[in-house]
């Protein structure tokens, strides 16, 4: 379930970017990794407390996300989806490579200290690790914040408008490009949050971004372009994985996510929450 929440967060990042810019960001997992590394720096080098670490990582990653949009993606705006996918894959490679070059980060594995480590809580006789509860709690809080943001702030509403119809939004005087940039920042921030939450479970290392590849199925299962779908998809994948690891022979756990996504794609190609209309000529 906690694993599923992390998938959901990364998937949420995918979906936000996809909805707003029709770009599929294959570098989302790497953004997450970068976020975890910034959190690590915040906690160890700068010596910030846990809460400030989160804020620090989110802020830095938001800037990184905006920079990526401005430098890498703006020039290929409007090109075929495939081109854009490849460019994000390339950006992911660069991020993964650069991390190994920065002194103090490198290829080693680090642990991120959290205030919840190794404590357990008893809820009506069931033992739950506080760590996992924290993950679920953080995800819920973040979702609530996002909901409020999209519902009640000017920028949030502008983002919704531009994701529904960019041209119309542009005519209405919404600066679509700047909104796109902000969306990238937001989604990188969400990725960073995912990274921080994942850090206690898998430790921080330069290849932790591969989990992003599992968040893909999550986003697809929920239907690309649906925010509640991303959360639900993440949870479905997380639970399916846990069940497969428990009941099925070894090996099924790693592929469970992909089997689920293939099944969903075969049965309902647009995902569970996706809209199924066909293009009119």
């Amino acid at each position: 379930m906690a694993q599923g929440c992390v998938y959901a967060l990364v998937a949420l990042g995918f979906v936000l970017i996809y909805k707003a810019t029709e770009t599929v960001n294959f570098a989302q997992g790497d953004l997450m990794m970068l976020g975890a590394f910034f959190a690590l720096t915040g906690a160890t080098v700068l010596g910030l407390p846990y809460w400030l670490t989160i804020v620090f990582a989110l802020a830095v990653m938001a800037v990184v996300g905006m920079l990526i949009e401005r430098i890498v993606l703006r020039p290929v705006l409007g090109h075929p989806a495939f081109t854009v996918v490849m460019i994000t894959i390339g950006a992911g490679y660069v991020m993964r490579g650069v991390v190994t070059m920065i002194p103090g980060w490198g290829t080693e594995t680090y642990a991120l200290a959290t205030p919840f480590a190794d404590k357990v809580m008893r809820v009506g006789g069931v033992v739950v690790a506080e760590q996992q509860l924290a993950v679920i709690g953080h995800t819920a809080l973040l979702c609530l914040l996002l909901y409020v943001f999209f519902r009640f702030t000017r920028v949030g509403i502008a983002m919704q408008a531009s994701s529904q119809n960019q041209l119309a939004a542009y005519y209405m005087g919404i600066p679509v490009r700047r909104i796109n940039m902000l969306i990238w920042g937001l989604s990188a921030g969400i990725a960073a949050m995912g990274g921080i939450l994942l850090a206690p479970m898998t430790f921080v290392h330069s290849n932790m971004g591969f989990i992003g590849l599992k968040a893909f199925p999550a986003a697809v299962v929920g239907g690309f372009g649906s925010v509640p779908g991303a959360i639900a998809g993440g949870l479905i994948i997380g639970v399916a994985e846990a069940l497969a690891g428990f009941y099925l022979p070894e090996g099924f756990k790693d592929v469970a996510a992909y089997v689920v996504v293939l099944l969903v794609l075969m049965v309902k190609p647009s995902g569970i929450f996706g809209d199924t209309a066909t293009k009119k000529v």
Binding site: G97, V98, Y258
Partner: protein, 358 residues
């Protein structure tokens, strides 16, 4: 500027359009045939890889460059070809039969993957093929009895009618011959109605369907053909490496294969060869460049990934037509000498193509 007028129907059928092409391709053929005399053992080994990757590049180019379908799972077809070849050789099947089986079996798998592709578009297809790749990799790892799992499989050198192709030169000629055959197959296919249907699907699915192209049939065919070529490439790859194991056929291999097509230039068969050569030579350049970089950078394990990513991003932004596109531009510049304009190859302003309906 060269004009060539068509004065006979025959001309449309000829493989080479004019004498210049005959000369240059002939020259290339002679240079390549003479490679064992001018190339060192190391260069020969690189040439093997270039030939093998070219075959895979052709396959991917047919699918991505000419049919417009995305595949992030071609390493899986490579794996199917490689393991088929390894198992058949172990069972004592002659090379020509086993490599045909590798192609056929990969094509069969391609059809299976192609089936969901009929309903999926763009990014969903990419993810379906990605999922397929991961599943195949896992199957290979777990099916210990058949594939040897993580311990992998060893292969003996190719043997044709009792003649062992043990030396570099002999294997090189085999790779070269198969590359040329595959290339001719692609060229011919593209001139046939099937190839035209592929291109029509790439340019617009809706118009293709309106013109009577059976989308389901041709997309599946494209997947099958592409997978078959990749299977042949996989079989040669297995012989070249002489040892195959699941970790050679991961998602990253797939991405590398896609990169061949993008760097070479999407939509040009030449591009597949150029891209393959580039991908093989790039690591050498990096290791040479390492000597000139500060130690902290040169020692980092991620250097190669960084350069790889930068090259990919740079190509997409600055040279979307790839290496072959760059060559076309240079050639046009000379052909038109004083009249070349900067924007000649710029794509038409593309308006946002939306998959949304509103």
């Amino acid at each position: 500027m060269r004009f060539h007028f068509k004065t006979a129907y025959d001309q449309d059928l000829r493989l080479f359009r004019h004498g210049g092409q005959v000369f240059w391709y002939g020259f290339l053929a002679v240079v390549l045939l003479a490679a064992p005399w001018w190339a060192s053992a190391y260069v020969m080994s690189q040439l093997h890889f270039i030939a093998i990757y070219s075959i895979v590049g052709f396959g991917l180019m047919m699918l991505t460059g000419f049919t417009g379908q995305i595949s992030l799972g071609h390493a899986a077809f490579l794996a199917v070809g490689a393991y088929t070849e390894a198992l058949m050789q172990a069972a004592g099947v002659p090379f020509f039969i086993s490599i045909a089986c590798a192609a056929l079996f990969a094509a069969l798998v391609g059809v299976i993957v192609g089936l969901p592709a009929l309903r999926l578009k763009g990014i969903y297809l990419a993810i379906a093929t990605l999922a397929f790749n991961v599943i195949v990799e896992e199957i290979i790892t777990r099916w210990h009895g058949l594939t040897g799992g993580n311990e992998g499989k060893h292969l003996k050198p190719v043997e044709i009618f009792g003649w062992k192709l043990a030396s570099d030169a002999e294997f090189y000629y085999l790779c070269l011959a198969l590359t040329v055959l595959c290339c001719l197959a692609c060229v011919n296919l593209l001139r046939s109605p099937t190839g035209r249907a592929f291109v029509a699907i790439r340019d617009s699915e809706i118009s293709a369907a309106c013109l009577g192209v059976n989308l389901a049939k041709y997309k599946t065919m494209s997947f099958a053909f592409s997978a078959a070529l990749t299977g042949v490439g996989g079989a040669l790859y297995a012989h070249k490496i002489a040892f195959i194991s699941p970790e050679q056929f991961t998602l990253f291999q797939s991405i590398e294969l896609i990169t061949i097509v993008i760097l070479g230039g999407i939509g040009f068969l030449h591009g597949a060869v150029l891209g393959a050569a580039f991908i093989i030579v790039l690591p050498q350049f990096i290791s040479i460049a390492k000597d000139y970089l500060p130690a902290a950078l040169a020692g980092a394990s991620g250097l190669q990934a960084t350069v790889f990513g930068l090259v990919l991003v740079g190509f997409i932004i600055f040279e979307p037509l790839g290496l072959y596109g760059r060559w076309l531009k240079i050639r046009t510049w000379f052909e038109l000498f004083p009249f070349y304009r900067k924007g000649m190859f710029r794509r038409q302003k593309s308006y946002m193509k939306s998959e949304r309906l509103r």
